[in-house]
């Protein structure tokens, strides 16, 4: 992403839709990729991108140019994506509960089969990210895919730099375990 000129941001703060479109053009690429890697699904990523840009549009007036605009956009993206994942998990749990109630009364649920089909279509990265919890996933995406430094991740997520280190370490330990298990299953 190129640096967005301050004038463009100021114009967008004053409800100028054309300037906001320029901001969208510059940032939507990484917003979409980060969102996609965290929610692990294209349709959900599209929803997250929409949420992110509406959020940016409404909060832009409060942006005081004290931090980097890119870091600010990353933060909004990560927060929206994490909230979206949490919402999906809540919904899935509710559906599971509902399904269990049906199973008890003799009805069957279609959910597990649908999930199996999706599992088969996943690429390696999606499978790897799928074994991590959402906070670890955010750290891995920002470091391994977006290439942010520990300090930048710390600024984006507003967490201590040692917490970044710990989350990355735990995430990678889990990925190693997953890799070993996958290798065992193949053999």
């Amino acid at each position: 992403m190129q640096d967005i000129p301050k004038e463009t941001l100021i114009k967008a703060q004053k409800d100028d839709l054309e300037s906001f479109e320029n901001i969208y053009k510059e940032t939507s690429g990484f917003v979409y990729n980060v969102a996609f890697r965290i929610v692990n699904n294209k349709q959900d990523a599209e929803e997250v991108v929409q949420d992110v840009f509406l959020n940016i549009y409404h909060s832009l007036k409060n942006f005081r140019f004290q931090s980097s605009f890119k870091t600010w956009v990353y933060r909004i993206t990560i927060n929206c994506a994490i909230n979206h994942v949490k919402k999906i998990v809540r919904e899935k749990n509710r559906i599971k509960e509902y399904g269990n109630n049906f199973m008890q009364t003799g009805e069957t649920s279609q959910m597990p089969e649908v999930e199996k089909v999706n599992e088969g279509q996943k690429e390696i990265i999606s499978s790897l990210l799928g074994v991590l919890d959402v906070d670890q996933r955010a750290c891995i995406v920002l470091r391994n895919i977006e290439g942010l430094s520990y300090q930048e991740i710390s600024d984006t997520l507003k967490i201590n730099i040692n917490t970044v280190r710990t989350r990355l370490k735990r995430a990678r330990e889990r990925l190693l375990d997953f890799g070993k298990e996958a290798l065992k299953n193949e053999l």
Partner: protein, 165 residues
Amino acid sequence: MNCEKIKELILTDYIDNEISGEKKVRLNIHLAHCLECREFFEMVKNTIVEPFASAKKIDPPGFIWYRVKEAIIAKQQERLGFVASIFKKLRSVFYIPKPALAMSTIMALLFIVALMVNLKFSNKQALETNREDQAEYSTFSIETPVNAVLNNDGGFGTLVEKYFL
């Protein structure tokens, strides 16, 4: 540095290039001599670093911007509609029929004018009375000698003087 510490560094700072110069040199020397740690590093590189390094960047579908734009315009219109509705509500709360409003305005203006005229005249009268009093006193002071005012004791004959003198 023992192998456990080296593996911890490999998992974090070493593969992320966050390690300082001297520490990095020491770690490289350890790796050159320790097969177990070298194998661990290779495994980390193959399992964790490389799959993500080859991650494809995907372009967002074009329709997202139109959705965002639509939502922004809808929100702007909603905001305008909200302001208009507040004005409408205020008008209905403070609604006064036009003739009554005009009449009350005229009455208020007349009252203010009458008040100002009255104030002006009453001030003028007070000023004239004051001026007459002053003129009368000046005439009295000039024409009457001081001894004529004083009594036989050389006083003014007041009760206070009688009490003390």
